[in-house]
């Protein structure tokens, strides 16, 4: 009973303190103070003090709740703030008075507890209400398309600061943030989500994806821009994540499908897709499918865009790809540049898309469908080697164009083009094949004296080295050096008078370096004209005297007639005018020279022949009938020889006439290119070399490991050789099959996937 009276008294006292306009007198304070102290002395327990504290705080909270409710009915803004400040001022005095009268008995900290009650019960409610009002304001502007007010956020801070009581302790940062996060940020974000949702809901149907992408992009951009004005900087990212998760990650499949359609047509929308996907948190999942789509597009687009070259007939043996090499490589470089520009434009040079571009183009270049033809000369390594050949060949159309366009910087222009082509070389899997073809064409350039310059040759080889490996370019460098050495050693060689008026130039090359690149079987055996054979013998004597000191030892010289040519002066009896005196200058190959010598050189047959049948020619110069037939056809086409239709005999065309005084029928220029048969031969040579390299790698690892699992062995061999060529599983298995058959290795009894080395 006493307790009830006590609490009743206490409530009465405090009411008189807290209720506005009823300031306590000193007697009231005394009375309250005495009542509390008396009660506490009677209670004589620590718990009683705590009980009073709790009761007082609860009492104050209830009192403040009434005040807060009353204030929230006022208009948000100055009236509310004025009421708030006035209320605080009174509460501050009251709480000071209360803590004065209660402090002696309920202990210190009473005032702090009451201020905290103010924050909890009044400040937060008012702040929350004002924050919600601001969110509504922003949302209204968003929906009505109103102009955003960048001052709004700072206004919110100001308002919150104003709410801080003048004499109160500094408003804790956590208090402000708590209000921001709880009553401002979250409602703001969801208002934005609701807005985007309502604007785009009608576009979430098949067929509207592109419009959806455009609209979502615009709306999210707007929201991000707005968020910069209305949210704390660190909250903008949260809003971005929520919007991306909701409106992008939720529609990924449709967006990816639409992106596939956009690739071929619309760059701008594609960029929108990329920007959209980039917003998705941890965008790897969202971006990877687009990367895959881009990669497939690059491959398909590259393969599909070469219609003119696809028309070649693979069975046409007369085709030489050099004519196509320039077109193809130029096109590929342009395609690469186009795709790179697209990557920059649409994907901001994102490394993932750059990698997809490289992978897609690599797939296209190494595809069996490359150039749409199965023609051996249209494989990427062959075309690239051919392109380098054209760049470095002194009289190719490409080199001539570059020389005309860059009269002073020809070498730089060639280097620049070579560098562009090298980008494609990086993508070619069979770098060994590229090197073999390069070497073959280099050999032809050097032997036919059609290389632009040795320095340029060396420069391009140096550029190739990092790609193909030093082992493969070493031999190329050695070939260049060998040719240089030959030039140096024999540049000053002149035959003696005994060789007649022949001006002889000879190249001596090391067979082991040039083997496989200069086909020795092309050089058929035959009886060369006397003058030529005399010059050859004289050269051999000179060579032996210099380098073959010991009899029966030293180097053996083999003449490659197929790569030899001669410039002769021919006079025809019925020629008239100046030509009758000067004759015609004819460039012929050695076979043609030997045939013509039968008709023009009395020393061959005792007297110059008038008529000879092809069989007789073949017999006299000991050249195969097929070869004689082919050379006779060339001489007949040029009009130098004619055939007697009655007896099939061949004779000189005494009435030969031509407007050109110099005629080249040697066909040596044709030697600069590979025939289809030669290309096929190189390809099969490459295949056999690859086979041996795989075999060597397998045996190396088997000797080291003695026993190894099939997959591990395949991985080892693939990794070891991947720089040079891709190891194909069927070839690897064939190698393994042969090694098992030849008993170098065996499959483990009971587990055929394990190979064991047989010592």
């Amino acid at each position: 009973m006493a307790d009830i009276l006590f609490w009743s008294d206490l409530r009465q006292c405090l009411d008189s303190v807290l209720v506005e306009q009823q300031m306590m007198s000193i007697c009231d304070y005394m009375k309250t103070s005495i009542a509390v102290n008396t009660y506490l002395k009677e209670a004589k327990a620590k718990t009683a003090v705590e009980e009073v504290q709790l009761w007082v705080v609860a009492y104050v909270n209830g009192h403040l709740a009434v005040i807060a409710r009353r204030m929230l009915k006022l208009e948000h803004g100055p009236p509310l703030i004025a009421a708030y400040v006035a209320q605080w001022q009174y509460f501050a005095q009251a709480s000071q008075a209360m803590s004065g009268c209660l402090g002696q008995t309920v202990g210190i900290g009473m005032r702090e507890a009451m201020v905290q009650a103010w924050y909890t019960t009044v400040f937060r409610r008012i702040a929350a209400s004002m924050a919600a009002a601001m969110v509504a304001l922003v949302d209204g502007a968003r929906k009505d398309g109103g102009v955003d007010d960048p001052q709004l956020l700072s206004n919110l801070s100001c308002v919150l600061a104003d709410l801080r009581p003048t004499h109160a302790p500094e408003l804790p940062r956590g208090e402000l943030l708590g209000v921001y996060f709880a009553w401002y940020l979250e409602p703001y974000v969801w208002a934005a989500v609701r807005h985007v949702d309502s604007c785009t809901s009608h576009l979430r149907t098949p067929g509207s994806t592109r419009e959806y992408i455009r609209l979502v992009t615009r709306l999210i951009d707007d929201e991000e821009r707005r968020a910069v004005a209305y949210l704390r900087p660190e909250s903008v990212e949260s809003l971005r994540c929520v919007l991306a998760q909701r409106f992008v990650a939720g529609s990924l499949a449709a967006i990816h499908a639409e992106a596939e359609l956009m690739l071929a047509t619309d760059d701008e929308d594609l960029r929108s897709v990329f920007c959209l996907l980039r917003r998705v948190p941890a965008d790897r999942v969202a971006m990877q499918p687009l990367c895959d789509v881009f990669r497939a597009y690059v491959t398909q687009h590259t393969l599909a865009a070469m219609p003119s070259l696809a028309e070649l007939n693979p069975n046409d043996a007369s085709v030489s790809s050099l004519a196509f090499a320039r077109n193809a490589v130029d096109w590929l470089i342009a395609e690469l540049n186009h795709l790179r520009a697209m990557t920059t434009r649409c994907f901001d040079d994102d490394p993932r898309f750059s990698n997809s571009l490289v992978a897609g183009l690599r797939e296209a270049l190494n595809s069996k469908d490359f150039m749409g033809s199965g023609h051996p000369q249209l494989e990427a390594p062959r075309l690239l080697a051919g392109y380098f050949g054209l760049l470095l060949q002194t009289d190719s159309a490409l080199a001539l164009e570059l020389a005309a366009a860059h009269p002073t910087g020809f070498e730089n222009a060639v280097e620049s083009r070579a560098r562009e082509a090298l980008q494609l070389c990086e993508l070619v899997n069979g770098k060994d094949k590229l090197t073999y073809h390069y070497r073959s064409l280099l050999a032809r350039r050097l032997v036919t004296d059609s290389s632009s310059s040795v320095d340029l040759e060396r420069t391009v080889v140096a550029m190739l080295t990092p790609l193909t490996g030093i082992d493969s370019t070493n031999r190329i460098n050695d070939m260049i050096e060998d040719m240089n050495l030959s030039h140096t050693l024999f540049a000053d060689y002149r035959p003696s008078v005994s060789s007649g008026s022949l001006d002889v130039s000879v190249k001596v090359l090391r067979e082991n370096l040039w083997y496989g690149n200069l086909s020795s079987e092309l050089s058929r055996t035959m009886i060369v004209p006397r003058q030529v054979s005399a010059a050859c013998e004289e050269f051999i004597e000179m060579y032996k005297s210099r380098y073959n000191s010991a009899p029966g030892k030293g180097r053996k010289l083999q003449w490659l007639w197929a790569y030899s040519k001669a410039t002769i002066q021919l006079y025809f009896p019925h020629s008239v005018g100046r030509v009758a005196q000067t004759g015609y200058t004819i460039v012929v190959n050695t076979y043609q020279l030997a045939i013509l010598a039968l008709f023009t050189d009395a020393s061959c047959l005792g007297s110059a022949a008038q008529q000879l049948t092809p069989a007789e020619i073949s017999l006299h110069i000991k050249l195969r009938p097929a070869a004689v037939k082919s050379e006779l056809a060339v001489l007949a086409r040029a009009g130098i020889l004619v055939s007697n239709k009655s007896n099939d005999a061949i004779m000189m065309n005494s009435s030969f006439n031509s407007r050109r005084l110099r005629i080249d029928i040697s066909g040596i220029k044709r030697m600069r290119q590979e025939t289809v048969a030669e290309t096929t031969k190189i390809d099969s040579y490459v295949d056999s070399e690859r086979y041996l390299q795989i075999q060597s790698a397998v045996m190396t690892e088997m000797k080291r490991r003695l026993s190894i699992h099939h997959t591990k062995l395949l991985n080892f061999v693939t990794t070891r050789l991947e720089r040079v060529f891709p190891v194909e599983r069927p070839v690897f298995k064939r190698v393994i099959g042969v090694l098992i058959t030849d008993r170098y290795i065996r499959q483990k009894e009971g587990d055929f996937n394990i190979y064991e080395y047989i010592a």
């Binding site: 997959t711 599983r729 298995k733 058959t741 030849d742 499959q747 055929f752 190979y755």
Partner: protein, 213 residues
């Protein structure tokens, strides 16, 4: 149980000649006579099983030494007992896959024409497979595949021959358990591709469990 002299006398009945290396052998003609005595058709399975049981390593050639050892091990004394053993062995192939595997691998040697030969002609391989596998579906599909390949597959190695038996044990009619990632010969990878392109008609999908009928 036959004594040494009995076994040798039995051998002499079919012995053809002494080889260049001095070894006494039953040759092709002698083996034909032995098959006739046992009432075996030379182009059927039993003569091959007989050769295997007699320890031969070449088609139709049985050395005295191996004859003596194998006849002793089989514990037979005359043709009737020998025939009974061979017939029992053939009958047991259905369940004794280890024994069959041993026989199957030896057949590769019988198909070689010279001892050092590493390959057997594909035509011989096809005939032998038809004979010794009792037309098991996988071998029949393999023969069909070889026919389709023509000259592209002219011969088979021992490795391919031996693993073909392993393949027959490890795949179903759809080759669903086959993997090119494993160490199967590339010929089998081609076979796998071919099977995918040429699905078997219903009758060929029978008997996937037992090796022999």
């Amino acid at each position: 149980m036959a004594t040494l002299n009995t076994r040798e006398a039995w051998f002499r009945e079919y012995q053809d000649y002494d080889r260049d290396d001095g070894k006494q052998v039953i040759g092709l003609e002698g083996f034909q006579r032995l098959c006739d005595a046992l009432k075996y058709n030379i182009v059927e399975l039993e003569p091959l099983v007989l050769l295997w049981k007699l320890g031969a390593v070449e088609l139709g050639i049985v050395e005295l030494e191996t004859w003596d050892r194998t006849i002793r091990e089989m514990g037979v004394a005359d043709n009737a007992a020998l025939k009974k053993t061979i017939d029992a062995t053939v009958a047991k192939f259905k369940t004794d896959l280890v024994s069959y595997g041993s026989f199957y691998r030896r057949v590769f040697d019988f198909l070689k024409t010279t001892p050092n030969q590493k390959f057997i002609p594909v035509e011989d391989a096809k005939s032998a497979l038809t004979l010794i596998t009792s037309q098991h579906w996988l071998f029949m599909r393999f023969i069909e595949f070889l026919d389709d390949q023509g000259k592209k597959v002219p011969s088979m190695t021992r490795d391919q021959w031996n693993l073909l038996l392993e393949l027959s044990k490890s795949v179903d009619a759809e080759f669903s358990t086959y993997s090119k990632e494993e160490a199967w010969p590339s010929l089998f990878d081609d076979f796998y591709d071919w099977v995918r392109e040429h699905p078997a008609s219903a009758p060929q999908l029978i008997d996937t469990t037992s090796l022999l009928k």
